[in-house]
């Protein structure tokens, strides 16, 4: 298979990541053309999919439990069944056809990591923000691992993820040496990606300025509000309509949304996304 998305979910007691991945996969199937709508899921136990109404939205399911929580994402290059992959965070939704972005990456990139984010009002998020102190103080490239394109056969990809795995396994050592100006409480995937890119000196190759991917990031302290907030939905409503269109407050959203709040996807929203897909499948069968 030439291209597909990859979602790696982790089992925790607090969050239903499989439900989020299911919603994401439904939204991909609903919005993307068929050749750009392949989705692979990495999960510790395949049987968990029995709880889903339409588990077939995952074209490939890979059972894997070698790493816990998000450490598994540093294995994305080895886990992906696709020749070309975009690895996504589970707590995202696709709202439009973004296949033209993918066409660009297929033609021009071996590895590309998202390096900006947008507010729900489509303002570019300032890199020097509340959540990015580690990046600013240590002069790291501003990477967001939530959208990572890579070619499986690329040498640069192999080097990048090999180093990334080593960083994830040895966070204290790398923090002390490379992040001494501001040591993060947890060395997360974004920090590990940025550190790998900096150490390999490939920041400009994998994170140059593009008008896409355009991802709305729903972390509350980057919304350019004059007040603090614990959650975006404390301040504005989250309205998923029957056509899969999404409004935050009274702002219609487009592109991809990274909704962050793990309990936002209700059974009703899943049902909306399933209805859209079933109607689409019926139309394509009859049409």
């Amino acid at each position: 298979m030439k291209f597909g998305y990859l979602i790696i979910v982790s089992s925790t007691d607090n969050c239903d990541y499989l439900k989020m991945a299911y919603a994401l996969s439904l939204s991909i199937k609903n919005t993307q053309p068929e050749q750009f709508a392949n989705v692979a899921l990495v999960i510790d136990d395949k049987q968990k999919l029995d709880a889903l109404t339409s588990p077939w939205v995952f074209d490939k399911v890979i059972e894997w439990n070698k790493e816990s929580f998000w450490d598994g994402r540093s294995w994305m290059d080895e886990l992906s069944p696709w020749e070309n992959t975009v690895c996504l965070d589970a707590d995202m939704l696709f709202l439009d056809d973004i296949s033209h972005w993918i066409r660009y990456f297929l033609k021009n990139s071996e590895l590309y990591v998202a390096n900006n984010a947008f507010t729900y009002r489509q303002e570019l998020v300032d890199n020097n923000n509340y959540y990015r102190k580690t990046f600013i103080k240590n002069n790291l490239p501003n990477l967001y691992s939530y959208f990572t394109f890579f070619k499986k056969s690329s040498k640069i990809v192999n080097r990048f993820f090999s180093l990334n795995r080593y960083i994830i396994k040895n966070p204290d050592e790398f923090s002390k040496i490379f992040l001494s100006d501001y040591i993060p409480k947890v060395l997360g995937t974004d920090e590990a990606f940025a550190l790998s890119a900096k150490i390999l000196g490939i920041e400009d190759e994998i994170a140059y300025n593009l008008p896409f991917p355009r991802i709305v990031h729903m972390k509350p302290m980057i919304q350019n509000w004059p007040w603090d907030a614990d959650k975006v939905t404390d301040r504005i409503g989250f309205y998923l309509g029957v056509d899969g269109q999404l409004k935050l407050g009274n702002y219609e959203q487009s592109g991809i949304i990274h909704y962050v709040e793990k309990d936002l996807i209700t059974t009703e929203y899943i049902s909306i996304l399933e209805d859209i897909l079933w109607k689409k499948s019926k139309t394509s069968i009859n049409g």
């Binding site: 404390d234 301040r235 504005i236 309205y239 029957v242 409004k247 009274n250 059974t267 009703e268 049902s271």
Partner: protein, 208 residues
Amino acid sequence: MEEIQDFDKWINEQTIPVIEYYAVYDENSGEIKGIYPDHAASNEIYKVKIENSLAEDIFSGKVNTFFCWVDLEEQTFHVGESKNLIKIDDVLHRIIEEKYSSQKDFDVYLTYERKQKKLIFELAEKHYGTKQNIHFPELKKKKSNWNGDLEMNFYITRYNDPNILNCIISIKIDDLFKNQKIIEEIELPEKFSVYTRRLLKEYRFEEI
């Protein structure tokens, strides 16, 4: 000569009084008049004890007593809305279908009969309305706390989007005592939502 008390002994013997909080309410309507510590409410007859954490939330503005009431039958304090008034959803409550709700015991029922183009509003039997709860048919009836002229406003909007208003339906709560309120010849989109300011706690919507 004045006896000087041993300070260490005195401080050890002191106990910090535990303050309890009471909601003072109107005996006829159950409306909340105020929240008071026990010593300030000692002369009040119509009062119910509330949790200290709830009292703190009321004092800090997290819970607005405008959305609270006392159930006169059960002598219990109820919170209708517990958020600050920041976004539309803090004022308007979206009435969801029972299949998406974790509740089984509702106060107000809305039913849309699409073929007949009828929108039916009913109050639960426990409030002297017409709708029997099939899950709890033996629920005890509650004394009404409400002024019968009180209007319930229902906003019919685009599905899950209170920004796009289709129409507003106003009903006096009196109209629902022992009666259904039926809106005839109302043609609604294939999917729509109903929002309301929450006067009672649980609302249910169903389309048939």
